[in-house]
């Protein structure tokens, strides 16, 4: 069999790159970073749904994952730190035709933007929040954040973290999100299916993607390269669909509970707003 590799990118075009700005590829992420896999999964989900790119708005905050909005052909916002969800709420309220997708990191969404997250989930504003969780602040140098596991070593916790981490799926489920799922980046196909499902739902949907950070978190904590971490995910991750999100812990030494946790229907914020506005205008 003759070799089928081709070295010239101009000859063949990647099938999902019609949703991606080709002039921005290769992206800035480190080798073996999981953010790229999530971007691939998102582009694959858009491709499978044949999603209208004019109906999509990608909003992202600050950080490594914050760069994501610049890589998609859709309209996008690269917003201030922690505020992608208020921007997305504004997009949705101003033009309910659009589907805002927030792609951001754990530090941006849950430390600086923690209150925005829980209140958008409580209001049930129609958007997809795709949180890429790498357990600390990546771009600023690996500081401890709200998702850093107890005992983990980061740039600011050299003798181990003494705080308890957030359980993001439990937080989202208790705040009122209509769809909550967690996958590791190794579950790339399940992640893409989950994004597809969340894009079709009407309401606040939340997907957490557990990602390696080979440059900072995995180096500080001696987990090895990104490849070693993905092999670890293969060993320790278990899928428990619709189990109790309170018990869905993440522990690199024992297990990572993945799966869909919540899938329900609730009245959506902008629909209620339109109904009320129509009712009041009749009076």
């Amino acid at each position: 069999m003759t070799a089928t590799t081709q070295s010239k990118p101009s000859q063949e075009e990647h099938p999902i790159t019609r949703y991606v700005r080709k002039d921005r590829i290769p992206h800035i992420y480190c080798p073996a970073c999981g953010i790229g896999i999530v971007l691939t999964a998102f582009a694959t989900a858009l491709d499978n749904l044949k999603f209208d790119i004019d109906k999509l708005t990608v909003v992202s905050g600050i950080g490594c994952t914050g760069r994501a909005s610049g890589y998609f052909e859709a309209d996008g916002f690269h917003t201030t730190h922690g505020r992608p969800i208020p921007f997305a709420t504004g997009v949705k309220v101003a033009n309910p035709e659009l589907k805002p997708v927030v792609i951001s990191g754990d530090g941006d969404l849950f430390a600086i933007g923690g209150n925005h997250f829980i209140h958008a989930a409580r209001r049930n504003v129609d958007m997809l929040v795709l949180c890429i969780n790498n357990f600390m602040y990546g771009m600023t140098g690996g500081q401890q954040g709200p998702t850093t596991p107890t005992g983990a070593i980061t740039s600011t916790t050299r003798f181990g973290n003494i705080e308890n981490p957030f359980n993001l799926v439990s937080l989202a489920a208790s705040a009122g999100a209509v769809y909550v799922a967690r996958w590791t980046v190794l579950h790339a196909r399940r992640l893409a299916k989950s994004i597809e499902k969340a894009l079709q739902k009407d309401g606040f949907t939340f997907i957490e993607a557990v990602s390696p950070c080979p440059t900072l978190y995995d180096r500080h904590n001696r987990f090895g390269s990104g490849l070693d971490v993905l092999k670890l995910y293969k060993e320790i991750s278990v899928i428990r669909n619709f189990s109790d999100p309170m018990k869905a812990e993440i522990d690199y030494s024992t297990r990572i509970v993945c799966g869909e946790f919540v899938d329900e229907e609730k009245p959506e914020f902008t629909q209620r707003l339109a109904e009320q506005s129509a009712r009041l205008q009749k009076r």
Partner: protein
Amino acid sequence: MSSRTERAPITQEKETVQTWDIIILEEVCKGCAFCHTFCPRDVLEQSDTFNAKGHYPPRVKAIERCVGCKLCEAVCPDFAIFVKERSPSKR
């Protein structure tokens, strides 16, 4: 022979095998090794030569084993590999 007993042989149509091409965009690869580590059919391997940025991209070891599951495409963080159905004319 009555028409009830007449029937076409089961293997009338020529059997075709689905074949696939793996396209590797070597210049955008960052050498993370996910594709050839997680390939369930062991189709890919790391190449000996590096690209312009000094990373070792994958290369196709045995394309006849590929079943087109596209896992390499899904786990690639860099949009650098994809699987394409081979056009029938080339078969």
